[in-house]
Amino acid sequence: MEPMSQRLKIFNLITAVLVIASLALVFFYAPMERVTGNVQRVFYWHVPAAWTSFLAFFVTVVAGIIYLLRGNRKWDRVAHASVEIGLLFTIMTMVSGSIWARPTWQTWWTWDPRLTTYTIMALIYVAYLMLRQGIEDPDRRARFAAVYGIIGFVSVPITYFSIHWWRTLHPVVIGSGSPTAEGGFDMTRPMVWVLLFSLFTVNVVYFCFLANRLRLARMTEYVEELKAQLLPA
């Protein structure tokens, strides 16, 4: 089996150090928000997780386009891995947001435009994984998945701009939000720094996960090839 390269080991180590540093900043450096208290600290990983889920789905689009142009299976693996990791960040965002909403909005969940569009986006990418499961032929699967990944990305800008287009409870981090938004706060300079550091860290976590997931995908493909060679249908 493929041994872990030295570079990947170092990358994993750097990522772990960044995660610890980010959590230390969140818990010990960032000031407590004056109204909602400590639960506001969830925001430092909730927002980067949401951004990173958008990034992951964008990577799927880019990888899908390159696959359609070149036909190299490597790019299909990138697109697939990126959707899987993007969904991980999507679930992290939804659950942490729900936990934040309970004391702030007095409810775990509401069908607010941002929450609704984000849920639809998540379901679109769950369907991407189901589509892949349903197609046997690897080339056909990769082609269909690439096209679906490109079309499915339409849900990402709709989700992002939903808080600007419709009246919403959801606070806006960048730009002006809806007057009905609840739970927003003015960020002090330390809060901005912690948010930016967390954003950087969560992005590094994404690329680290992608590298490790691609390694696993290569191994899976190797085993599939072995099976096809030894156990012909």
Partner: protein, 85 residues
């Protein structure tokens, strides 16, 4: 005006933030716990793949070896010896 000031000062000011530490801990338990579970799933998948490779190699050796002959090398080179894409 004085009445207004007296009325406003009679409202209790929110001096203390809400006590929401439990929600924060729950949030981070999930934010850290879910990726750790994901990593654990890789470990399990990798172990299963290694088991599959061992099984497939032994099957291929048995299939290729004539009765009584010494063990043959695996049909395919290990992954680390294959050219990178």
């Amino acid at each position: 005006m004085a009445e207004m000031i007296a009325l406003l000062s009679s409202f209790p000011a929110q001096a203390e933030p809400l006590e929401t530490t439990g929600y924060m801990l729950l949030g981070y338990a999930f934010l850290i716990g879910l990726p750790l579970l994901y990593i654990l799933s890789w470990v399990v998948q990798r172990r299963n793949l290694e088991r599959d490779v061992e099984l497939l190699r032994s099957l291929s050796q048995e299939a290729e070896r004539p009765a009584g002959a010494p063990e043959a090398a695996a049909a395919r080179p290990p992954l680390e010896q294959r050219p990178a894409e």
